[in-house]
């Protein structure tokens, strides 16, 4: 079944753009059927229904019903492999 991933940052304009691209590449490389949606963190609450995972570049202001991963590693370049794995593990659950 196709997965739905929300990629969020504060404004939905800068860091989420980079992370969106990384996540899209990651799911493609691993043959995972997934839709990646870029949004503002404030929109996550209303968009989480039907989604499987939140990948955010910023602190999460609230708790969500679906798992959330903070992905600043894609911006700093630190521990990127571990981050890839964490996202894959979550999608493969």
């Amino acid at each position: 079944m196709s997965k739905k991933i929300l990629v969020a940052c504060g404004a939905g304009i800068a860091t989420s753009t980079v992370v969106c691209n990384k996540v899209e590449q990651l799911v493609k490389d691993n043959n995972i059927d997934a839709e990646v949606i870029q949004c503002k963190i404030a929109e996550v609450k209303s968009k989480q229904e039907g989604a499987d995972l939140i990948v955010s570049t910023t602190i999460l202001p609230t708790k969500y019903d679906i798992p959330a991963i903070i992905a600043t590693g894609y911006i700093t370049g630190i521990n990127m492999k571990a981050l890839d794995q964490k996202i894959l593990d979550e999608l493969n659950k």
């Binding site: 940052c9 504060g10 404004a11 939905g12 304009i13 800068a14 860091t15 753009t17 980079v18 691209n21 870029q38 963190i41 570049t57 910023t58 602190i59 202001p61 903070i70 600043t72 894609y74 911006i75 700093t76 370049g77 630190i78």
Partner: protein, 152 residues
């Protein structure tokens, strides 16, 4: 579009004197407003956003910040670069309680949310490159800073 096309000489600052984050935001926003890059709502909104969603990033050797705000406050796209005379405290992007000493900041003025991938990717690649970040931090003058950014 390439990253260097976004740098504007008037918005590059070496040894910038700013008392704190707020002072830096005021100075940069005023300058950008004066030059027509942003509208008069940019300052308040870039500050507001930084308070809610901080943009400090801890890299391997130092910390940088990439403040920005929504597209509607940007008239003309730019990336402003500041190397501070004294480090300024920014909160971390992943933990609002973590205080980072930021010596280098890239203020993003973007208004094309979904078409800036290339530019942003280049910026992220730049900040992940210790040698280049150190070169910017140690530029020594505004001219040198400009030269390094042009040659990226």
């Amino acid at each position: 579009m390439s990253l260097k096309d976004f740098f504007v000489p008037e918005l590059l600052f070496y040894n910038m004197k700013a008392e704190d984050k707020s002072d830096y935001f005021t100075k940069m926003s005023q300058k950008a407003l004066e030059l027509g890059y942003v509208n008069d709502q940019f300052e308040v909104n870039v500050k507001k956003r930084e308070d809610t969603f901080p943009t400090g990033i801890q890299l391997e050797e130092c910390a940088v910040a990439i403040p920005h705000t929504d597209a509607e406050y940007v008239n003309k796209e730019f990336i402003a670069v500041s190397v501070f005379e004294q480090s300024i405290n920014f909160a971390s992007m992943e933990d609002a309680d973590a205080v980072l000493d930021v010596k280098l900041a890239f203020m993003l003025g973007l208004n094309q949310p979904h078409s800036q991938l290339e530019v942003l990717t280049q910026l992220m690649t730049l900040i992940q490159d210790n040698d280049k970040v150190n070169a910017l931090l140690n530029a020594g003058s505004k001219e040198e800073l400009e030269k390094i950014l042009k040659e990226l």
